[in-house]
Amino acid sequence: MRNIIEIKEFFAEEGILISFHGSFSHGIIEEIGSAVRRHLEHERLERGIVADVFAVYIEQTQNVRNYLKRKNFLDPAQSSAIVLIVQTEGEYLLCSGNSIAREDVPDLAARLEKINNSDKDALKKMYKEQLRKPLEADATGAGVGLIDIARRATGKLGYRFDRQDESHDFFSLFVKVGGGER
């Protein structure tokens, strides 16, 4: 075990406000969300920024939870995920990371690519079209989470896929909120 103070100093240097690593439950998502919101309200930020950070956090963590629940990975290396909220001058970076089955990567990468190539008006149109699509059986989400995230984000979504083992990649998503035009 590294010395805790090293971890603490690392967090402080990086501007990490909150991090959670483990198995996401709805209760944990709720509690961390409330804590984040209280913290941001205390900072006397513009209300819209607080609302966007909270909304992006909720979509990111619920996406991760829904995906991992559906996949039911047995190995803790794959069933646990991470979320970080990083504060840098005037802006917030929301980062999430979770394992993804390799066969699901091309579809997700294509969706992210499409989102990043769309301006805000196109995103609004995509969002509305997706809301009008009938749900697939046993759906837990409406498939609009990533579009909602992109609409609230400043600039493009950052993401990467890193090889984890022969059948899994690790998906990281970086979303900037505040510090410029949505």
Partner: protein, 128 residues
């Protein structure tokens, strides 16, 4: 009768017989939005068959994307006059100081097939 108390991540849904008003208020990001809103849809289907009139009052400051889908389906059902003869009037209230809550209401107004009024209210506990 429908009377679902609010939780941290789900709104209160309540019908008042006296005022013939269905109220939905709070925030909505439950674990499973579709399961959460199911009782509302069941209740509403029944009511629309037998009622001539219904007031609906909505005050939601934030909802996640899957709740948004449910809300749109809910508004479409209210507006579907091929399916019922109940006359509906809807007001959507938002806290005047909350831009995002107004944005949310306006997006629904844009997209929903049923008309509704958007009314601001002032929250005296907020100083901003």
């Amino acid at each position: 009768m429908i009377d679902i108390p609010a939780t941290k991540s789900s709104p209160e849904i309540k019908y008042s017989e006296q005022e013939n008003t269905l109220t939905i208020s709070g925030e909505s990001y439950p674990e499973n939005s579709f399961a959460f809103f199911q009782p509302l849809f069941e209740w509403l289907h029944e009511q629309l068959e037998r009622k001539a009139h219904l007031h609906v009052s909505i005050n939601i400051s934030y909802m996640n994307s899957s709740s948004t889908k449910c809300m749109l389906d809910f508004l479409d059902l209210l507006g579907d006059t091929r399916k019922h003869n109940c006359s509906i009037d809807i007001t959507w209230q938002y806290e005047r100081e909350n831009d995002r809550a107004l944005e949310l209401a306006e997006e629904f107004q844009d997209e929903a097939t049923v008309p509704f009024r958007i009314l601001p209210y002032h929250n005296p506990d907020r100083h901003q």
